[in-house]
């Protein structure tokens, strides 16, 4: 029996093949993992800044927040718009559209395969961080880890749907990835990657809560770092964004496929 077009065998086959593909690119993925060191750069900036007191995170808490932000980012990075755009332009999408499986599942599997390949590099970077900053070392509770893991998955789902929405625009504009770059700027500032959201003035913080960005990094990172968060509000907002984006993506996809002219195929 299939649920959303999937069954256990398809999931195993897709994940297995995509993980094997990603292993072929492990050196590149290691570099990508290294390129995600931005939270550590921001940590060093904030640590030496007088404004640090305004963040509401003192001592090791700030270190743990940025380490958690790094880890959350590692497992919620999304690049579907670039892969999709290339596939659409080069005509590789055509064979996928002719198989009884929604093509987006292949991209989901590719992302999960890539995350699994990133795992050892992310762990190694976290270990190196603890060697450099031993005062930051902590072992989060099992409960915090599970909650943070669930929140990171939801963050990945929101980011994936947001980018899929832009990717579906490739059916109309062949260079939809430019829109993604536009989205990256608010993501960078409002997600908590550059600074915890507590750094923003209350009015801005309140307004940002109505965007998907704080639920992509800040919320799961605070969970992992053991900070107090409103669980119901955080998970509720994540679920709401998934439920809002999913039908829009599916509708846009269907409309786009009608328009598809199998470019380059």
């Amino acid at each position: 029996m299939r649920v959303f077009g999937l069954n256990g065998r398809i999931i195993r086959a897709l994940l297995g093949s995509q993980y094997a593909t990603m292993l072929e690119y492990r050196a590149e993925i290691a570099l990508w993992a290294l390129s995600g060191l931005l939270p550590f750069i921001m940590l060093s900036l904030w640590s030496g800044s007088a404004a640090r007191a305004d963040l509401g995170l003192d001592g090791a808490a700030l270190d743990r927040y940025f380490l958690s932000a790094f880890l959350v980012r590692q497992f919620s990075v999304v690049w579907v718009v670039y892969a999709f755009e290339e596939d659409a332009l080069l005509g590789r999408l055509s064979p996928y559209l002719l198989q009884p499986l929604h093509p987006l599942w292949r991209y989901v599997a590719a992302h999960l395969g890539e995350q699994l390949t990133r795992l050892p590099f992310a762990v190694a970077i976290a270990a190196a961080f603890f060697v450099i900053q031993p005062q930051a070392f902590w072992i989060p509770s099992i409960g915090d880890v599970l909650l943070a893991w669930a929140a990171t998955w939801m963050a990945f789902a929101i980011a994936f749907l947001l980018q899929s929405l832009i990717a579906a625009l490739c059916f109309w504009s062949e260079k939809a990835s430019a829109l993604e770059r536009l989205l990256f700027i608010p993501f960078l500032f409002l997600s908590g990657l550059l600074a915890p959201l507590t750094a923003f003035p209350p009015a801005t913080r309140h307004a940002v809560q109505w965007t998907p960005f704080p639920y992509l990094i800040d919320f799961p990172a605070r969970l992992l770092a053991g900070e107090s968060v409103n669980l119901a509000a955080g998970f509720g907002a994540q679920l709401a964004w998934v439920l809002l984006l999913l039908p829009v993506v599916l509708w846009l996809w269907r409309a786009g496929v009608r328009r598809y002219s199998a470019m380059g195929a």
């Binding site: 065998r9 398809i10 055509s94 996928y96 598809y260």
Partner: protein, 325 residues
């Protein structure tokens, strides 16, 4: 009928940009588009098990028609039915019954051996493991694939990759095969093997095949019936030899004479194609053939005489080359 197209049309809207800087600025400020009619009012029907060649020059509308038949693009007008389905709905049951092979566009995972892609396809199409293994063995035997199946796709030669693509496209035993240039870029031996494989597959499974190819050998070897599309319109639907007589109604008369004869001597005996010492080529209308041959034998010392149709490759090749009928 397994494939029916009635009044099938497709119009694309394309951007119209003049070359150069001025053209670029104009294009930026006021984008102009025009409608291009790729396929116009095309109708045909194909019975189960038929192998049909689909001919036409570049840009004639072959690939657009194939894409509409397999549901990749929506027709602008007309009706199409394939295996009892409207292709553009891309119903899972329809997708399980068809396959499309497009030249060198590939569905195989580039960095992995073909077997990994085949495993994914088996899962996606719901083919039980045992059945999938048996089919892979059988198809690999027919295609003469062995160790290639466990080598990364990027390490395979073009011919090996094309054969592996065919295997992947046929693993679910589709009833209808749309093949767009399946032998493109292959050497003569590999072309011949793929051709033989397609003929065997058709015989074994009774699958319907619609095949486009620029290699006439593919068409003459596989397809008793051909569709010829020209400037988006169907020009011919029938046996290949009837197409030949439409394209070149004259017969070719080749003479070898005992002594050279001046060109003027052939006046009124058809059109003189070439005259080299004793070798003469004439084109003669079929209704005058017996009269002309009798006169030739009567007037000249003939060592040898041969009557034939103009070579099909040359006719179609010239057609593709010139892009006109």
């Amino acid at each position: 009928m397994v494939i029916t197209a009635e009044g099938l049309s497709k119009t694309y809207r394309v951007a119209d940009k003049q070359p150069g800087f001025v053209g670029t600025v104009q294009h930026f400020l006021r984008r102009r588009t025009r409608d291009v009619s790729a396929v116009q009012d095309v109708s045909f029907a194909i019975a189960p098990g038929e192998m049909v060649g689909f001919l036409g020059a570049n840009g004639a509308g072959k690939t657009t028609t194939l894409k509409m038949l397999c549901g990749l693009i929506h027709p602008s007008a007309g009706r199409v039915s394939v295996a009892g389905h409207q292709p553009q709905r891309r119903h899972p049951d329809f997708l399980r019954r068809i396959t499309l092979v497009m030249g060198q566009k590939q569905q195989l995972l580039w960095d992995l051996p073909p077997l990994d892609s085949l495993r994914v396809n088996a899962a996606v199409y719901g083919i039980p493991d045992g059945v999938a293994s048996r089919r892979i063995r059988e198809l690999a035997d027919l295609l003469e694939l062995g160790a290639e199946l466990t080598r990364p796709v990027r390490k395979l030669s073009l011919g090996q990759r094309m054969k592996a693509e065919l295997l992947a496209a046929l693993l679910h035993e589709p009833q209808v095969l749309f093949l767009d240039e399946p032998t493109l870029g292959l050497d003569v031996n590999a072309q011949s093997r793929v051709r033989q494989f397609l003929a065997d597959y058709n015989r074994r499974t009774g699958a319907t095949v619609l095949l486009t190819s620029h290699y006439m050998a593919d068409i003459t070897a596989l397809c008793p019936r051909v569709l010829l599309i020209h400037q988006g319109q169907l020009f011919h639907d029938g046996p290949l030899n009837r197409l030949v007589s439409r394209l070149a109604p004259e017969r070719l008369v080749r003479l070898e004479l005992e002594q050279p004869v001046p060109a003027e001597a052939f006046a009124g005996l058809g059109q003189l194609d070439s005259l080299e010492t004793c070798a003469v080529n004439l084109r003669v209308a079929p209704d005058q053939l017996t009269t002309v041959v009798a006169q030739l034998l009567d007037r000249f010392d003939v060592r040898d005489l041969e009557i034939s149709d103009p070579p099909v490759d040359q006719l179609i090749g010239a057609l593709f080359h010139q892009g006109r009928l």
